[in-house]
């Protein structure tokens, strides 16, 4: 059994004291930022990237992964207790979870979310372990044309599954791709769009964009909004264990949510967010006569989406680990982290760095176990954190982001550039332009260009090479289908409906 051997290697790696410590640190930090509204995993991982210079690759990635799935747990806590989703993927959890909390059933809601997430996390880990090797095999058959088409599919997926205007999202991707063109051309060595500024010839660091747009841009946007009244159900969290009826109601939802989340997580651009929305819709369709109606505190409406977003968070590692293609901004940062550590992301990672690959997977299961311990018995600590006012929080974020950007190259040029992107980020926010597709485009831009040019070179300038090679054609057809499906009037209205609460 290869799978067992591989997992054994993974657990050997993940269970060393050092790696356990980093997994723990990552999950704690993830829960923390998940609980704190206004600080997401993208900004946090971006802030931490400079620090991983001091670490080995495996503990570094284990820690960053922990932040990502930890944030999914933490985000649901705030959604349930104060109706403020800490993460965008917990938006639907807030609908029924908060109602449960108002009826004094916060404990049951938190337990349903926690246990559902744990189950989903375990399944997600097994799926990664089982499907990564065959996918890697497939990836080795890919030439430049296939990679280019795959990235097109990935970017199209990112837009289709994003919220808001389709046209603007596509434009944001192209803008990201263009920003990625500010660099030195790999083939000819020409420096492009650098305006004779030496720092720009290496390209803009994606951390600069991530921190400027996601970190600072959000701070400015948050400060510009009127103060909100928060109602925290702190005293009423007792009776953590759900009743027998709760279990009976919740477990089918957990199973369905896990299945749905696992599938949607693999899709590019999908990941946790889409999974939770889809799971909520599914639960509403299936449970025609729930014990408690949806929107009034139905436990299914908590268990389903929470399992789905955690499963989705896990399986979104698959395209990143096997193909080296990030399906969402967090994975894009993980790719960046691998590059910092001198590992070329792609199908060869599994064979060239097996400890890293399997250790990361095993650590996810361990991390999920840690999270359930962290979140259920220790819930009181996290609730206390909710009472920290934003006026203490945002100067801390500013300081960490500043130190992070400076230490990228020990150079204040990056700091000034980040200041510029903070303004740009605020403009995007004001104009209703989603920044996530931009970051994806920015990361994939140079890879796409290289593969496009290489494919054209091999095909002697014949663009039809992308359609005559069967694998490449299949991927492009899938991308075209996705756009067509989204444009269909019935789907279009559904899509707007699904993302309505988010806006």
């Amino acid at each position: 059994m290869d799978l067992l051997n591989n997992l054994a290697l993974g657990f050997q790696t993940a269970l060393t004291l050092q790696n356990l410590a980093y997994a723990f640190f990552g999950t704690v930090l993830g829960t923390l930022i998940g609980v704190l509204p206004g600080l997401g995993p993208v900004a946090t991982i971006a802030m931490l990237l400079p620090s991983i210079y001091a670490l080995d690759a495996t503990p570094a990635l284990i820690m960053l992964a922990g932040i990502y799935y930890g944030a999914q747990y933490g985000g649901s806590t705030t959604a349930i207790l104060i109706n403020v989703p800490g993460e965008s993927s917990s938006v639907v959890t807030a609908i029924d979870g908060y109602q449960m909390a108002r009826r004094g059933r916060a404990g049951a809601a938190l337990a349903a979310a926690g246990l559902g997430s744990f189950f989903a996390g375990c399944v997600g880990t097994i799926i990664i372990a089982a499907f990564a090797p065959p996918l890697t095999e497939l990836a080795f058959k890919f030439g430049s044309a296939e990679y280019f088409s795959l990235m097109v599919l990935g970017l199209v997926g990112a837009v289709v599954l994003a919220s808001g205007s389709l046209l603007k999202a596509i434009a944001m991707i192209v803008l990201g791709l263009l920003l990625g063109q500010i660099n030195t051309d790999v083939i000819t060595g020409t420096s492009r769009f650098s305006f004779d500024i030496p720092e720009l010839t290496d390209g803009i660091g994606f951390v600069v964009i991530a921190m400027g747009v996601f970190g600072f841009g959000e701070i400015i946007a948050n400060l510009g909004q009127p103060a909100e009244q928060r109602e925290v159900f702190t005293k009423e969290v007792k009776g953590l264990w759900p009743t027998r009826e709760d279990f009976k109601d919740a477990w089918p939802s957990v199973l369905r949510g896990t299945a749905l989340g696992s599938i949607l997580g693999v899709l590019p651009g999908g990941g946790a967010l889409l999974a939770s929305f889809a799971a909520y819709t599914l639960e509403k369709k299936i449970n025609r006569n729930p014990r408690v109606p949806f929107g009034k505190g139905a436990i299914q409406g908590v268990a389903g989406p929470e399992s789905a977003n955690n499963a989705g968070a896990q399986t979104s590692f698959i395209p990143m680990l096997t193909l080296g293609i990030p399906p969402n901004p967090v994975m894009a940062l993980m790719v960046g982290a691998m590059t910092i550590k001198g590992i070329q992301p792609g199908p060869q990672v599994m064979t060239s760095n097996p400890e890293l690959f399997w250790g990361l997977i095993a650590s996810m299961w361990i991390g999920n176990l840690m999270l359930i311990v962290l979140n259920l018995p220790l819930i009181g600590i996290w609730i206390k954190l909710l009472t920290v006012p934003y006026r203490f929080l945002f100067p801390a974020i500013v300081v960490f982001c500043c130190v992070g950007t400076y230490s990228l190259n020990n150079n204040n040029f990056d700091v000034f550039l980040t200041a510029g992107f903070a303004v740009v980020g605020y403009i995007f926010y004001k104009l209703g332009c989603e920044p996530a597709p931009l970051l994806l485009g920015f990361i994939l831009g140079p890879m796409m260009e290289e593969n496009l040019r290489r494919a054209l070179l091999l095909a002697r300038g014949d663009w039809s090479t992308f359609l005559t090679r069967p694998l490449s054609a299949g991927l492009l057809i899938a991308a075209a289908l996705m756009i067509v499906v989204v444009m269909l009037p019935s789907i279009k209205s559904k899509r707007q409906e699904a993302f309505q609460d988010e806006a």
Partner: protein, 153 residues
């Protein structure tokens, strides 16, 4: 002509201008041929695509009705300018004044952007953050950041 959606109008204009600028800038680099694409090939194409997309968004903003004109809303000038300044000051001060002086300065400046401002809170924040950052970044992660002002050598 009436603008039907403010947000779309300005974002369309932004895409159009930025796309055009990139395409125009890419003309400085050799375009090559499809068989041997040069450094200008990809950015030129992308710039044109972005400009066209921007044109489409702009067209939609001028023709399709949207709810309440989709206004951009008030711009939060105060936090925008203060946060921007705080980052720039940080960048200028760190190489000269070191971590010990720069962080309290940044915290103080950034705090001015908030709705409430209390000297006591700023004092607490800046002390905690400066000591914390020193412990985390200098002692813990061994980053080579200037700690003290250069004037003290």
């Amino acid at each position: 002509m009436k603008i039907k959606s403010q947000r779309d109008f300005w974002s369309g204009l932004m895409f159009l201008v930025v796309g055009g600028a990139f395409a125009w800038g890419a003309m400085d680099y050799s375009f090559g041929t499809s068989a041997r694409p040069g450094p200008g090939y990809f950015p030129f194409g992308l710039g044109i695509v972005l400009a066209v997309l921007g044109g489409l968004v702009l067209f939609k903003a001028l023709t399709l009705e949207s709810e309440g004109g989709d206004p951009v809303g008030d711009i939060a000038w105060r936090p925008l300018i203060i946060i921007f300044t705080a980052i720039v000051i940080f960048g200028l001060a760190l190489p000269r004044l070191g971590l010990i002086c720069t962080l309290p300065l940044t915290v103080l400046l950034a705090s001015l952007a908030g709705r409430e401002f209390h000297w006591r809170d700023v004092l607490i924040s800046s002390t905690l953050l400066t000591v914390g950052s020193w412990a985390l970044f200098i002692k813990g992660l061994k980053l080579t950041l200037p700690v003290w002002p250069i004037y003290f050598g």
